[in-house]
Symmetry: C2
Subunit: 186 residues, 2 copies
């Protein structure tokens, strides 16, 4: 029930049918969803569909139903101008942290699809937005990255996000294929 | 100045000299420090001296000066009876988390002393006290442990704590010595 209401409320395909009375918040959400332009979807994306799939898998209440992948992943695009306006003082925004976590989770599952070995992400962040993320498989560190200015995590375009994710998947998969002995160690 | 005062206040070697007037809190602290019995120090400890050294290295204000290693590490002893009384609901206590972090940090530096390769700890904990810790060196996971019931992190005795730490160091050092190629990868 609640799922159906939410879906209708934020549907981007026009104003919701007049049958239901919307709260002010729901109206605002519906307006905003249709008002914001979608970022251009890259040709032949490799990584982004898997990222969108993972995000949809965690959609408990149907909020993303009827929205395109480009809209769901819109938050991953942070232009240079936007980046400059985000302060890097204090804790990073919760939404940025969720995006970052989801990004590396998706890298892990994508590596799993390619190599049949899921690389488990492990992230440690300071409150100042510095830290480290690794994806481990058995006793191998398949992917390792230093994170900084996490507050401003994002890409210039969806195409760039796709390329960045695909590069991480490629790196991790190649490591796992190169060292099967280390990967199979408990 | 402040360091000297603190040292005198909490000195376990008897009540502080009458020259200084102590605040109520300082009096309580001094009483408590002498009242609590020290846990028996193990014979020929391997790991605990390094753990104590690391904790002393972070002692900004001289609070640990004049205290024995056994007292500094007293918090690592949690008896079975104490353990039962600690609820595992809600976030783990901050002091427990600090002890846990320090424990694995010390394992990393101890591995570094033995192998000349420092293993970097990376820990991820849920608010419910479940999680994972790895110590990585280059592309190798030297040590990997699942953590659970972190709220009750502790050992039956200092001897057991020493053995547990030494076992982790041993495991990590052996891994690093066995796979130098993986360790030297960036």
């Amino acid at each position: 029930m609640s799922a159906a209401v939410a879906e209708e409320t934020v549907s981007p395909s026009g104003p919701p049918s007049g049958g239901k009375k919307l709260t002010k918040l729901q109206q605002l959400r519906a307006q905003r969803a249709t008002a914001l332009p979608e970022h251009p979807w890259p040709e032949n994306p490799v990584f982004l569909p898997q990222l969108a799939e993972l995000i949809r898998a965690g959609d408990c209440c149907g909020l993303w139903d009827g929205k395109s992948d480009a809209r769901i992943l819109g938050g991953y695009v942070v232009t240079k101008e936007q980046r400059k306006t985000i302060p890097i003082i204090g804790e990073p925004d919760g939404r940025v942290l969720r995006r970052l976590t989801m990004f590396y989770n998706a890298v892990g599952t994508a590596i799993g699809r390619r190599t049949d070995v899921i690389a488990t992400p492990l992230m440690e962040l300071s409150d100042e937005g510095f830290g480290r993320v690794v994806l481990t498989a058995g006793r191998l560190v398949a992917v390792s990255r230093t994170l900084r200015d996490v507050h401003r995590f994002g890409f210039d375009s969806l195409e760039e996000a796709d390329a960045a994710g695909a590069a991480l998947v490629e790196e991790g998969a190649r490591m796992i294929e190169a060292y099967p002995g280390i990967v199979s160690m408990a």
